[in-house]
Each structure stands twice: as C-alpha cells, then as structure tokens.
C-alpha cells in the first residue's frame, strides 16, 4: 500500500493500511505523530470515532499501537457529525420496532392522514414532532425562517393547498417562537444598498414583511422600541427577553394566521362549507372544516401558548384551546 503524507510537519505523518489482527480485514488507519505542527488539521478524532465510522469491531486496541502516536482522522468534526445522525437513525428504527411495531408500514401502505398542518420556524430548536411528542403521521409541516406564510410564495402556498385540499387537515397551526432569529434581524436597521452578499439579500428579502410589521405595529412595546431606535438605532440583535422582540414574534404569528385565513385556498374552502349548509352529511362537513390557530413556543422552557387568534369556518364554533393564552 502506498504511504502518503497527510500533512507536512516536523514529524512525518503516515497513512498505514494494516491488516486487522483478528479477522485480517484490511483497515485504513490514520496515524499522525502526537506533536503535529500543522494547525490546519481540525479537531482530531480518536481511534474509536474512526472505528465507528467503518464499523469494524476488530481493530486492535490502542494499547497495541505505537505509544507516541495518536490515532487521528482529519475529518473528525464532519465525520463524527454524520456518525451521530447515523446512530440516531439506528436508534429511531429500533425504538419504533420496540414501541410501535407495524406503525411505519401501516402509514406507508395507507398513506398519511395528518389531522394537523404546522407552519413552524426553521430554527433547529423547534421541531414540531418533538415538541408535541407526536407520532409519525400527525403533522404536515412547512418549515421556513420565522414561520411565514404568503400566498405569493409558491412554496408555502403549495404546502397549505395540499394540506387543506388533498390531505383534509382539521387544523392549520402557525407557530412562532421567542428568540426567533428572523424576527430579530427585522428589528435591525439595514441599508439595502449596502447589502451585497447573496446570502444576506435572500434573508432580508424574506423577512421584509416582518420589518413592515415592526414599522407599522401599534402594539405598545413595539412602538416604544421604534421611538427609542429613532434616536439610538440598535446595532445588535435584541435579547431573548426584550419585550418588543417578544411582541414582534407574536405579531408576526398573528399576521401569518391572518394571511392563511385570507388566502384563496381557505376562502374557497370556507365558501364550500357555507354553501353546503346541511346539504352534506356530517362526515363530509367535518372533512371540509378547517380551523387556523396561532401559537408561540417558548424556547427556554418548552411551553406552548395560544395567541387567541383562531379562525374557523363562518358560523362554526371554535374548539377550546388546549394551551394557555399568552397574557397580552
């Protein structure tokens, strides 16, 4: 096997492919002297990580390796991230078999029939199935920055359309969360002429409707913040507990609930409920009714609150909320 230099350093680094002691499976080990000079090697892994990556359990124990050499893999960070995901997926599969045998197959054969559609934030701390301990098949989800809905956005409109028309969900939930980065960014003053990176342009365009809410809202906390910023514009993102930030998170959710309710998809749907008015059987009516709710998730404690802005088909009673109202 050719030995190739992994890194140029004072101590030579070698890559050795060696036969495994017990099974004679050939493995690749990355061996670098413990006194590596080159700093561009990122976080080094132990033999265990590499071993897990190749799933060979017959690698000789470290004590048998040359003592002064550490086993490293220059891709530890990246490889070990993926390994975590892989292990997580394995755990998921075995947990499912143990706790819910047959559920996945049943959902695959019968198709999904979720009672809920959720519009939630892309934020990595907000995963809807987790937060509600829901089983697979419960929530049809649109995930984007700051849980926005806009009819003009084909992406979110298609999700709502499919959910309401084809899947016949009972509830559409718009769920925001305190500490939302997208909402926070919309509170910072920005000169669009100075925004040049494609990444920044994309994010600014996406959150511009939230900016509009910030600039026009009559809610006390937001008005106060606006007044203060006229003299002293903020240069840093607001703190998680800033009352204006929390208010804007809530107002953003309310605005999106309104946009969902006013969308052509929902208006058509409610029109068909109104026109049926007793002509359809209870089952058919129940199928086409859909309620829209606005909730907020608190990232600090995992609690969900209701904003009290639910909308339903005209003439139908709203279901009582399962979550406490936000004190507004």
């Amino acid at each position: 096997m050719p030995l190739s230099a992994l890194v140029v350093s004072k101590f030579s680094t070698t890559t050795i492919v060696r036969p495994c002691a017990s099974s004679s499976t050939v493995l690749c080990n990355h061996r670098v002297s413990s006194l590596v000079q080159q700093r561009s090697i990122r976080s080094l892994a132990t033999l265990r990580d590499c071993r897990n990556a190749v799933r060979c359990t017959s690698v000789p124990p470290p004590s048998q390796m040359q003592k002064r050499n550490k086993m490293i893999c220059s891709h530890k960070t990246f490889a070990s991230d993926l390994n975590e995901l892989f292990k997580g997926n394995q755990d998921y599969v075995s947990n499912m078999k143990r706790d819910n045998p047959g559920l996945l197959e049943q959902l695959a054969i019968e198709g999904q029939k979720p009672p809920f559609m959720v519009v939630d934030c892309s934020d990595s701390r907000v995963s809807e199935q987790d937060i509600f301990s829901a089983q697979p098949g419960t929530m049809f989800t649109a995930g984007n920055i700051a849980n926005r809905f806009d009819e003009a956005d084909l992406n979110s409109n298609a999700v709502l359309s499919f959910a309401v028309e084809t899947l016949k969900v009972k509830h559409v939930v718009v769920m925001g969360h305190y500490g939302c980065g997208g909402v926070a960014s919309s509170m910072l003053l920005v000169n669009m002429d100075q925004v040049t990176r494609p990444a920044d342009i994309a994010v600014q365009k996406w959150i511009s409707p939230i900016r509009e809410i910030y600039e026009t809202s009559e809610r006390k906390e937001i008005v106060e913040h606006r007044e203060r910023c006229k003299e002293n514009p903020i240069t840093e993102l607001p703190d998680l507990h800033d009352p204006a930030f929390r208010a804007l998170v809530e107002e953003n959710v309310k605005s999106n609930v309104e946009k969902v309710a006013k969308s052509a998809v929902i208006r058509d749907h409610y029109a068909s409920v109104a026109s049926s008015n007793g002509a359809k059987s209870p089952e058919e009516e129940a199928q086409i009714e859909v309620f829209i709710h606005g909730w907020v998730y608190d990232v600090e404690n995992g609690k969900v609150s209701d904003l009290g802005v639910s909308v339903g088909p005209p003439g139908k009673r709203l279901p009582p909320s399962p979550f406490p109202m936000v004190d507004a």
């Binding site: 190739s4 230099a5 992994l6 890194v7 690749c28 990355h30 990556a53 190749v54 799933r55 891709h75 990246f78 490889a79 991230d81 993926l82 995901l85 997580g88 997926n89 599969v93 959902l107 990595s124 701390r125 995963s127 199935q129 987790d130 301990s133 829901a134 989800t141 649109a142 995930g143 984007n144 084909l154 992406n155 979110s156 298609a158 999700v159 709502l160 359309s161 028309e165 084809t166 509830h171 500490g179 980065g181 990176r197 494609p198 990444a199 994309a202 994010v203 365009k205 996406w206 058509d268 089952e283 009516e285 129940a286 009714e289 990232v299 995992g302 009673r317 709203l318 279901p319 009582p320």
Partner: protein, 347 residues
C-alpha cells in the same frame, strides 16, 4: 329482533368510542330506540376538533417532562447561547418524515426547510433564505437534502395533471411540482425511461404504488437535482470561493462568530418510510480540494441489490447494512491523500 337491534346499537356505540378522535363524528345511540338521536353538528365537530387538539397539549407536557428528567439544562442553554446546528436539512413536508425524530436528534441539531417533495428551486426565496442563513449566519457543516419513497409530490408529478376544476389549491401544487415533471420527462435513467414509455398514450395516469421502481427512481433523481441546484447556488459558490482564498485572510467573516468561513458538504439522502432507514445516494459535494467525509449511511444502490436478493430468498432483510470493505478502503484512501481533485460539481 329487538335483541339483535340492541346488539347492533351497542356495538356501534363501542366502535364510535374507539374510532379516530378527530375524524369520527360520534353518533349517540340510545338502546331500545329504532332510530338514533343526532347531536347538533357544530357542537360535535367542535368537540371532536378539541379532542384532536388535546393530543397536542398532553404531548407537549410529555416532552417537557422528558426533558426535565433527562436533560434539564438543554433548553435553557440553547436559549441563552443561541443555536449552533451542524446541519441544514431540506426535507419533505410529509407528516411521516419529521427530521428530529428520524435522526433521534436533540433540539439544536437540524436547521430545517420543509416543503412539498423537498425541492430546492431556483428563484424560490423561501428555501434560499434558509440556505443562506444556515451557511452564512449559522455556519453549518453539512447541508442534507432528504427525499422519501412514497412521496406524494413526486407521485403527483407522475400522475396526470387535473384538467377540470383546477382551483387555486390544485394550481399551486401543480406549479410547485412542475420541476419534478421535467425531471421525469428528461431523465435517461432506465426506470424513468420505462415509466415514460409505459405511460405515454394513457388518458389518465394514476399515482403509482410506493414500490414501483419508476416512482422510487424519480424520488432519488429529485433529491439529486436539488443537491445539484444547491451546489450551483450563488450562496454556496460564493462560500466556496471564500474558502479558496484561504479562510483566515477572507475579507468577509460570518456575522455571528469571528471565524473564517468553514467547509460545507452537501449530501443527498433518501428515507424509506416503510422501515425508517435513511440511505445515502452517493452524490455528496464539497469544496475543491477537500475529500468528502466518510458517510456512515448505507448506499442506496447496494441496499437495492440486497433487498432484491432478500425478496427472492425470503430471508429476513438486515435492518442496517454495513459499508462494504472496498467502499471503506476507497473512502479511507481518499481521506489519506494530501491533495484531492474535487468531487465534481457535475451538472
């Protein structure tokens, strides 16, 4: 006769009690009567709807209790420190494919865009803003595009488009899945060519069965197309260009941390909704000169061969497939070499 009626009435009451709380309208039946008395509709649906929502509040209680028992500091820490997810995830809106569950991942792991059929389309500011924020603000290490077999959006792209009664909802979905139709019509992949040939001339094409090879192939090709589009997107090409200039001297630094731009790898995975297993499509892309990290997920091609064999021989399919030795050697070989030519940004 009356006894029989009683039995029927009682059993229908029992059935309605165990039926799905949301979809089933309860019919009150009074034993001994000829006809049942119907409860006022709106109250019943409100009750049924409320019952559906209560599932969520008890679920949320369970979530919080579980965290309090097992990891009480987690949420507070994430709230105070902010999120630093290693992954951006582009997945389908499908209710059976929730990313944190499928990877058993803790909060703070996956920054997510979910839309119908996990598409990354040009000119879609929704997905692009998620990618942008992930790459330039959060500094994710990986972008994962994950499709799934049995995807309704992909199935709808195979089926004929509705011609009559196209309302706003239908129109939106059809527009959104148009790029998948294009892949179907232009791909040279064997299964897709066969599917096209089979369907030409048919007046109405139905959505195919989940096991249909053409359907599965289109799910995979759709993921690959999104991986390609992400790799070609200005957000990524810009980022890779910054890396080429040598990170520490790069003029632009990520706003959130005072660090140089870091490597990002884009991967294409597919999720099997029948088994819960995630597999790799082997189309990963990275910056020029960097080797792709070893991917622990089984590769799709190999798994397909195995499952065909398993179906033939009736032996139980292994739940997880271990990477083959030549694959391991090849991957380790790439990691060991000092200079590596770019795994092509093929197009």
């Amino acid at each position: 006769m009356l006894a029989l009626q009683n039995i029927v009435l009682v059993s229908s009451l029992f059935l309605s009690a165990v039926a799905h709380p949301v979809h089933q309208l309860r019919e009150l039946t009074i034993v001994g009567r000829d006809q049942s008395a119907r409860v006022v509709r709106s109250e019943t649906t409100a009750a049924a709807a409320a019952a559906g929502l209560e599932v969520l509040s008890s679920g949320n209680d369970a979530f919080r209790k579980n965290l309090a028992d097992n990891d009480p500091q987690l949420l507070q820490k994430l709230a105070t420190d902010g999120q630093a997810p290693p992954f951006m995830f582009l997945g389908c809106s499908d209710s059976r494919v929730s990313e944190a569950s499928v990877f058993n991942a803790k909060p703070g792991t996956l920054f997510t865009q979910r839309n119908i059929a996990n598409q990354y389309q040009r000119n879609d500011i929704n997905a692009q803003s998620v990618l942008s924020y992930a790459v330039s603000e959060l500094g994710v290490n990986h972008v994962i595009v994950m499709g799934h077999y049995g995807c309704g959006g992909v199935g709808a792209a195979i089926a004929s488009a509705p011609t009559a009664n196209v309302d706003a909802a239908n129109g939106a979905v059809q527009n959104w899945i148009e790029p998948i139709r294009e892949i179907l019509h232009s791909s040279n992949r064997t299964e897709l060519v066969e599917l096209r040939t089979k369907n030409t001339g048919l007046a109405v094409v139905e959505e195919p069965d989940i096991k249909d090879p053409g359907f599965r192939a289109l799910v995979e090709e759709n993921v690959k197309a999104s991986v390609r589009r992400i790799a070609a997107d200005s957000v990524i090409t810009n980022h890779f260009a910054l890396l080429q200039q040598g990170g520490s001297t790069a003029a632009e630094r990520r706003a959130s941390e005072d660090k140089p731009p870091q490597d990002i790898f884009i991967h294409g995975f597919v999720y099997d909704i029948e088994t819960g297993i995630v597999q790799d499509l082997g189309v990963s892309v990275g910056p020029a000169g960097k080797a792709i990290p070893s991917i622990p997920f089984a590769s799709v091609a190999k798994a397909a061969v195995e499952s065909a064999a398993a179906h033939d021989s009736e032996t139980p399919k292994p739940a997880i497939t271990v990477l083959e030795l030549p694959v391991i050697q090849a991957r380790c070989g790439t990691l060991c070499k000092a200079k590596r030519s770019l795994v092509s940004l093929w197009y």
